[in-house]
Symmetry: C2
Subunit: 262 residues, 2 copies
Amino acid sequence: MATGRTHRPATRSRGIPEATVARLPLYLRALTALSERSVPTVSSEELAAAAGVNSAKLRKDFSYLGSYGTRGVGYDVEYLVYQISRELGLTQDWPVAIVGIGNLGAALANYGGFASRGFRVAALIDADPAMAGTPVAGIAVQHTDDLDRIISDNGVSIGVITTPPGAAQQVCDRLVAAGVTSILNFAPTVLSVPDGVDVRKVDLSIELQILAFHEQRKAGEEAAADGRAVVDTDDEEEAPPMRATPAGRKGPDGDMPAVMPA
Amino acid sequence: MATGRTHRPATRSRGIPEATVARLPLYLRALTALSERSVPTVSSEELAAAAGVNSAKLRKDFSYLGSYGTRGVGYDVEYLVYQISRELGLTQDWPVAIVGIGNLGAALANYGGFASRGFRVAALIDADPAMAGTPVAGIAVQHTDDLDRIISDNGVSIGVITTPPGAAQQVCDRLVAAGVTSILNFAPTVLSVPDGVDVRKVDLSIELQILAFHEQRKAGEEAAADGRAVVDTDDEEEAPPMRATPAGRKGPDGDMPAVMPA
DNA sequence: GTCTGTGAAAACCTTCACAGCG
DNA sequence: CGCTGTGAAGGTTTTCACAGAC
């Protein structure tokens, strides 16, 4: 979704669809849970339910990895765990650096889900000199001045940005200059990076906004459900900023049933 | 993406593609920044660059909302901000409850990006009695026992779950029972909810895993870049757990031109 | 001339449905 | 039989490219 423009258009490298890659961690999690319960095999139907997808999709996804199942039986849990881990590159250790140790950075440093996969928090970096030396999640915070050295000393290729938005691009540039080629960005900023560097973003407020959209839609439908009185004058909600451009607005209003029972 | 099965298949309500909805918050953010700099109008090209998408996509997206631009000129910034906000339902106030006030919950409670949109943190809820009363981000944490009352008293329809995975489904059930119809889930669990309830999830370790996949790929390409020796024996990376099922493994290794030229 | 709005084409992703292995 | 693996169909999203408004 957020990956920077890279990804071999030609070269016909290895062809696992991006959508499939994004689901592999999900399968892996479900499989790990089964593995812990010592379940030996699982059918596509069961595993799909545990992962929250449908079984045809799961089978197709797995078909890109190879033929790992046994017809009439299902998939060997341990074997699949290994194959998916390998495909995702989790059989190796990934040192990660977190830059920006505020609330969120600290939360991530403490997050158990990282260590349990191949990720190791190798360094915590912050611009506040007062924080330097303070241990967070058992790791001493280091100062931004040493960023370059910290990254190369630890062989970090994945960086996590949890700084305020204003600092994000600058931090990103420094990370990239120091050799980082994958960035997970929590700052609400569009980062620009050179080719070959991947960026993924997590924006907490975006998720909420998407929920709000659907929530609003539901409210509208509810109202429309019984009363039928889908007023359309409700369009002009309150103070319609009517910023209107030059000439006459094309206006969307008019139609638009659902929205707001005023 | 993560939304629970709902979404009017028939009814032909308003037809804004989900992919477009997911980008509206992005455009809104870019537009807000322009608005703050008092930029009056913007072209699809400029706005697309600021939002990190391409301009054809942006124009298509906007075309679902209506004809808000002016040919030869561009889009009126203020007007678009209003229209998108309205479309997303951000012209109203959304009281949100956060359940599970650990590191992450606290980080979210403090997160500025919520308040700046229509979201208001109406309640913080935690199962630990020792936390009850403690203020986090200026709001006193309340105990889970009162969850039902808190939700209805505040008219909360959006809940955020930041509990440990074991508690997530239970909390989810209680939220839904109390009237919540949209859930943002940070716990690494597949939640099951009744029809009509939307769930979106944010899984921090999944994002890292996707990055690791691409990172690994890069390392491989690099090696293959000069030597041409695109070994495919590299499949057997190190210790292949060979969990093998009943009979003979189909092995991915050997064959598997991966893609599908077949 | 500039820049939007949009049909049409292409790419991508999901779902169906069933052949075929165990 | 049961369950995987997969062509083929169907749907969605992206991209192209240009007609038409300003």
